[in-house]
Symmetry: C2
Subunit: 209 residues, 2 copies
């Protein structure tokens, strides 16, 4: 299992109250270096991801999705369903989080929710106008609804979720013209890696229940 | 404006991090007495509301909805959109919260979300099986999705929300057979009082922008 051998992302407090982990990291860039690349997809030879413009297309999306994947890996290693998210504003990662449902014993502690709370704190504003959220898995109804409430500008996700996806699969809440905000969607970014991590997690769980 | 003259519900910290207010109050019944009744609906002459069985029907629903209305009033007095929620488990209020979006500058800080986090802490479990949530306004997609994730048993709400309601109006997320949990709905409980509070809030806002 190559995933389990990776360096641990010591990004979160090991315990604590719900969304304690949503404390914004406002003291500079938050992307940490790993000694080994996190997944099979090679790192691009480009300069720092934080310098790339959001409009640069697929390569930029890959870069930020890779950061979301690092968060998903951290969830995996904590025995949480491996979903990760980052929020980007003005080409800077202002929030990063992973699913912490089991740790926090909180059904609302999805990666996206923690990241949204974190990003609002970073901007000191509940409106995340102009922000883009990168998530490894298609958001559920709760998270999709939160993105609309937060006025997020763009949603980029990896794998589709046939069971609960609310951004194109079961619903498309983020593009419902009846609501007071709509969000651009880019889907399928690094979808293979994102889905693979989930498959490995559930396969391992079935083996050792 | 009779609402503004009511006693203040000093239930929440005046400031603090998101969902600081979700700290569960586990030290006994949490319903406090007011010196004056909160709304136009008279208090029932019955014994303590916490003693009434959940199955008793409308009167019980009224009692718990009145507690949710107290929370909505607290939001009103804090200049937040007045929505309140309580969660009941084994005939006991285990969580109570109101909308704190502006105070916490957090788009996810709806009454229901804070109450769900609070209830999960009270039960030390993210599954709120057998719990009922009372909300003054029909939940949005975010909150409806959270209720499904939390496996809440019953949703009782007051006023319908024509703009964003996701429990019968725009969607019915809590009763979608494609999701892995469905929730009983009782709607229209004290709907007049619940809607009136919202109307007064928005009318006042229009007058003094």
């Amino acid at each position: 299992m190559p995933v389990a051998q990776l360096d641990r992302v010591a990004a979160y407090e090991a315990e604590g109250w719900r969304f304690k982990s949503s404390r914004a990291r406002q003291d500079g860039p938050v992307i940490r270096q790993r000694t080994r690349p996190p997944l099979r997809t090679p790192q691009p030879a480009s300069s720092s991801p934080l310098e790339l413009p959001l409009e640069a297309g697929t390569i930029t999306h890959d870069v930020f999705m890779r950061e979301a994947l690092k968060e998903a890996l951290a969830a995996y290693e904590d025995n949480e369903v491996p979903v990760g998210a980052v929020i980007v504003h003005e080409n800077r990662v202002i929030a990063r989080a992973h699913n912490q449902r089991e740790l926090l014993k909180d059904p609302t502690a999805h990666a996206e929710m923690i990241a949204i709370t974190q990003a609002a704190a970073a901007l000191n504003n509940w409106r995340l106008i102009g922000a883009a959220i990168y998530v490894t898995l298609e958001p559920c109804a709760m998270c999709a609804g939160a993105m609309v409430l937060a006025r997020i500008g763009r949603l980029v996700y990896g794998a589709a979720d046939p069971k609960a996806g609310a951004c194109g699969t079961l619903y498309n809440i983020v593009q419902d013209a009846r609501l007071n905000h709509q969000i651009d969607i880019v889907q399928g970014v690094l979808a293979g890696d994102c889905a693979q991590l989930l498959r490995e997690f559930f396969a391992e769980r079935r083996e050792s229940p």
